[in-house]
Symmetry: C3
Subunit: 154 residues, 3 copies
Amino acid sequence: MAGQIDAKLKALGIELPSPMQPIANYVPYVVAGDLVFISGQLPAIDGKVAWTGKVGAAISIEDAAKACRQSFINLLVHLKAATGDLDRVVQVVRLGGFIAAGADFTQHAAAMNGASNLAVEVFGDRGRHARTTIGVPSLPLDAAVEVEGVFRIA
Amino acid sequence: MAGQIDAKLKALGIELPSPMQPIANYVPYVVAGDLVFISGQLPAIDGKVAWTGKVGAAISIEDAAKACRQSFINLLVHLKAATGDLDRVVQVVRLGGFIAAGADFTQHAAAMNGASNLAVEVFGDRGRHARTTIGVPSLPLDAAVEVEGVFRIA
Amino acid sequence: MAGQIDAKLKALGIELPSPMQPIANYVPYVVAGDLVFISGQLPAIDGKVAWTGKVGAAISIEDAAKACRQSFINLLVHLKAATGDLDRVVQVVRLGGFIAAGADFTQHAAAMNGASNLAVEVFGDRGRHARTTIGVPSLPLDAAVEVEGVFRIA
């Protein structure tokens, strides 16, 4: 029997791909007690970063929100591997959002909402999280955004 | 009877305003076991960011320290909401400081001290925290600084 | 009898110096339950930042990796002070890497590997960590890199 969160993902039309391995000598996640720390995720699809360049220039706010959503999907991929069953997730604790942009950019929140909205769509009240969003001049592989997460499991 | 930390805040002339709600789809704080994760706080007063622009240019180091202090006050607002009573705080665990500045800026520590000093003024030894401070090109709403925090409660 | 991790450090030719004190009003680490949060570490040697300037410009990728390795050594200094005995470390939970670089920089992962590789050399499987690496325009004292860490202890 599929889990409730798996069913929710299916209803949203989201199929979790195979986990993408880190691009360097670290691991996708670490479980420490009831907390799961997941490495910063780039907005990759099929192992390739799908949104590159700067938000507010090459990348529109709308596309940046889609990129953050994709980064959150990639967090879910590793969270499922960490837990075995996403129904074990009792809380999305904290998301960190990094938006590659110039000095005059101000719409970080609108971009990061792509991740936050999906967290709440998938997990409901358990998806309401603390969040920090900042601008950065550059990200690995020229990614437009990066999202990291801490989750609490039963 | 007012709590000891409430009394300390009063002695410092600090009145905690009503919590400002997040500017997007997330929550101000999440309690996970005995840790409280609080969302990144902008230096807002009465719901409006009071220090905008870049530190070292439009904003002096002294004003940046005041802005970090205000961000810490905004952390306290949510910490009080999370705990009900600030006397329950047993440790300021970690503060993250984000200073909007150009590539040649080097005085991040002096700016962030505005938050750190207030943490120790308010909580005494329990206010001594781990800290990471970095420069960023831009922050939400053109804020000059942003401060996030993790706290431990009884 | 020296601990196993101390012996490993000796075999790697790494002597942990005396802890460098924070450059401002905070502490090097906080222990919260079984987690140790360590402040962001600059690549300092003998109390002086040894790699300054921007990675990809004044600082090569290779030197940036060395700088990240040194920042990790500085994390170890405080981790030893926090634990008394590095053998008590059961997991490197999360490393945060901050690479001072321009908007066109893309090799953050290669730089941060200097820290990640040493974590695994020193702690073996317990050294495999979650990681977030981002670019920043500037760091305290013009440091080229900064690395922070969360560790789990027995």
